[in-house]
């Protein structure tokens, strides 16, 4: 059943609030406030629209950003944990391993090796048929 247009706009505003403030200590009250809805009503509508509770969506955003930062050099794993909004390195590492299958440091090492290989041997990442078909070695 279609909801009124303004309800969609309000739920989307709250989703975008999470996207922008995931690294802060935001809670359901603050998020539902962006939609001008009660916590209960907001939780029900958000979960219906995104097939995920607001809390799970927030956690997913934080994990996505952590993966992006781990692929870059500069911040330590502990600094990344804090910068994406997790309070405990222990719970971050456990959750990361549960979702990704490997720990954050292992993930970082793997991504760095991949990037070094991509830079040194880009052809190992490109199916040969594309190199031949589009004459990429002559571009």
């Amino acid at each position: 059943m279609q909801l009124p247009e303004d309800i969609y706009q309000r739920i989307v505003a709250a989703k975008l609030f999470i996207d922008e403030h995931y690294h802060e200590a935001i809670d359901l009250g603050e998020i539902s406030g962006q939609a001008f809805l009660s916590r209960f009503h907001f939780h029900r509508l958000f979960t219906r629209i995104y097939r995920s509770t607001p809390h799970r969506y927030l956690t997913r955003r934080r994990m996505d950003k952590a993966r992006d930062l781990l692929a870059q050099q500069g911040l330590s794993v502990s600094e990344i944990c804090n910068s994406v909004g997790f309070e405990s390195i222990g719970s971050f590492s456990t959750l990361f391993k549960k979702e990704t299958g490997i720990g954050p440091q292992h993930y970082r090492n793997m991504r760095i090796v991949q990037q070094q290989q991509a830079k040194a041997q880009p052809r190992t990442f490109i199916p040969h048929c594309f190199i031949e078909g589009y004459k990429l070695n002559r571009q």
Binding site: Y8, P122, F125, Q139
Partner: protein, 149 residues
Amino acid sequence: MITKMSHTSLFVLDQDKAYDFYVNKLGFKVNTDVVMGDAASEDGSEEQPPAGGFRWLTLNTPEQPDLEIILMPVVGLEPDAQAAIRLLLEKGLMGAGVFYTPDCYATYEELKAKGVEFKSAPKEQFYGIECIMSDGCGNWFSMTQPKEH
């Protein structure tokens, strides 16, 4: 037997603009972004690409990490073939596929707020709720929320 698709290519008029659309607006993830030509002699080939090289840029949708969408510039083909593809892209005529969304109305509102251009607003079809969007680089896509059975 073939079990799934691993790569699919999408011609785009401008890779940087396409990157902005798919990554920054739609939220797709970069899978591979390398320049071929920086390491031209990696395999001992005598053929040397010019400075700058070819950018191999592939993306994944957030929940489909094993399908790489290649953002392909129009290069390497016969001049008439390139001109034909460019013409279709310039006219925005390339129908490139269907993206899944759990809620078409909400995603439409979000993407509209981010400046995405739509050819049609969400509409109920017999298979679900669908709208049509443009990537601004020559392609249009259906964005569909399938009917729940």
